[in-house]
């Protein structure tokens, strides 16, 4: 049942996944096991996305399936679930003055299924809020997203504020989105530009020294 469930989710079979979830709950299966399987299914989705088999529609739809499964399972959960062991923390944010979040959320998803604990600060995040988060969360990796040209300066200002606060040393910063590229990376004094969510994962893994 578990193996079928994982593959059905990875293959995005909505009706079958929901039917099987209900059957497993009716059979009094451990709800945490169902959620674990769902995570495994999502991890396959992530791999297929990274491998070029899946694209944005599959990724977004898998998120919808996961939300539906989680909603079905939630009422059956007793007490706290066991937290999955994470490799480490990453903060991501779309910089001030920019409200685009599609890419940001894909990066969030891909980092999450690859074992990172992601703090997604959302869009139009002012410099001081990012500084505060870096200070408090103590994540060694920061991802800055931006779609439009004005994000060039917002990124630069964010990096400079982190420098000024003495937080830049030991912090790796990656940028991505819309019109960002290696030139903008140099301009903003970030550490790397990633062209897509897979690049964000590869950079984070490299900086964490895993794989």
């Amino acid at each position: 049942m578990s193996g079928d469930f994982i593959n059905l989710l990875a293959d995005l079979k909505e009706e079958e996944v929901l039917k099987l979830t209900k059957e497993r709950l009716d059979a009094k299966e451990d709800p945490l096991k169902i959620l674990d399987d769902a995570r495994e299914g999502m991890s396959i989705v992530g791999k297929r996305f990274a491998g070029g088999e899946y694209f944005l529609p599959e990724l977004v739809f898998s998120g919808e399936l996961l939300a539906q499964v989680t909603n079905l399972v939630k009422p059956h959960l007793t007490g706290e679930g066991v937290q999955q062991k994470k490799i480490g923390k990453v903060i991501i944010a779309t910089v001030a003055g920019d409200i685009h979040d599609i890419g940001l959320n894909i990066v969030d998803f891909m980092l999450d299924v690859n074992g990172f604990e992601v703090t997604n600060m959302g869009v139009d995040v002012p410099v001081e809020k990012i500084v505060k988060a870096v200070k408090e969360i103590k994540a060694p990796v920061l991802g800055l997203s931006g779609f439009l040209t004005p994000a060039f300066d917002a990124m630069k200002e964010t990096v400079e504020a982190l420098e000024k606060e003495g937080l830049r040393k030991g912090l790796k910063i990656m940028i991505g989105g819309g019109q960002m590229d290696d030139e903008v990376c140099k301009y903003a004094k970030a550490d790397a530009y990633g062209k897509d969510a897979m690049a964000a994962v590869a950079l984070t893994k490299k900086w964490y020294g895993v794989e």
Binding site: L12, P57, F61, I99, L148, P150, V184, Y187
Partner: protein, 444 residues
Amino acid sequence: MFTRPDNWKDLTWQQKRELRLNHWISAPGIEFVSKEAAEGYKARATRLSKAAKMEIPDRVPCMIPTGWYPAKNAGVPLKKVMYDPKLMKKVWLKFVDEYDSDSFDGTLFFQARVNELMEVRTMKWPGHGLPDNAHSYQYVEGVYMQADEYDLFMKDPFDFQLRKLLPRTTGVFEPFKDERSFASYQGLPQRLMAMCLNPKFQKLFKAINEASKELPAWGKATAETTMGAAARGFPVFRGGLAVAPFDVFADNLRGTQGIVMDMFRQPDKIHEAMEFVLPQLVDGAVAMADAADCPVIMMPLHKGDDTFMSDKQFEVFYWPTFKRELLMMVEEGLIPYPVAEGAYNRRLEYISNMPKGAVAWMFDQTNMANAKKTVGKVSCIAGNVPVSIAYTKTAAEMKEYCRKLIETCAPGGGYILTGGSTYDMAQPENLRAMMEAAKEYGKY
């Protein structure tokens, strides 16, 4: 206004296009500031026309994609310009006076005050959802049409617009969301009257009244700026705007989240609705081109790019109706000018399947050498100078980038040097370096 000759329907698309282009080049209604300006206009429009048709012009045309840069250039915050049409005109014409380009990129057309009065929710702009000093306005993507509303959208667009779409996108229209369908009002005018007299609708009427006083000033400023640029010799290489049928839903009505659900749960509805909007998109484009005296239809493309969907999804959802839209426009003598935002590297083979010289493509991050070898054999190609270089690099580096692009794309004609996206920010000397490159390296 472009008027068709009596034998219009007997003409080939090339003949129709030629009539439209000649009309554009003849600069109807434009009073030039000088003889030089008149000659400049003709030379620029001819250069662009030839490139678009894949003929060989005197040199590679260069279009500076201004975006919101004119505000930066004048040192005026974008927020201020958005609320002041007269200032907008002054700032945009200042740009025209200071920079050479083969086209005028058009004005800012964003009436912040009107949007404010109407409580527009689909946009954020400086001081209104974005920081005061933000140098852009942005579209707020959302699910503005529900999954089960495709049928209403197609059967009764007016009802859908008034009772569903506007109450979600435009705050002052909210009272309509509780109204019953207007189909039931037939024969009973008192009911419509009663609705209008209801106190909850008064805010709407007041807002419309206020906004309608603001709007003409924008129309006037925009028209005067465009005419002013033309009078100085700079033609607008755009007669109107259109989008791909898929993007009508993926961008505007259903948003990314909504369209994805439909792709898996009700793909047939998307297809049906795309068929429904296709002729309307073409009719709209024709009407705009007629009114603007220019056959070029700019088409910003979004959700069909390399990263958004797979080849299979592009083949099924995006390309078939979009391709027909392009061909229908071509048949009317228009020049579709799709702006492939993002990357179109995996789309090049599909889009090469077009009549020779019928379409002009602008590319953003697409590999231009590959574009030249594929779609460049049948269509004019344009673009690819990154805004990052225009803003963060030196003029020498900008010029060098343009030189390489010209070497790659210009041979045989059919190339327009321009940005990969609009330049909302740039270094002034880099914009001048772009034009220098076209003049120095782009001679045929």
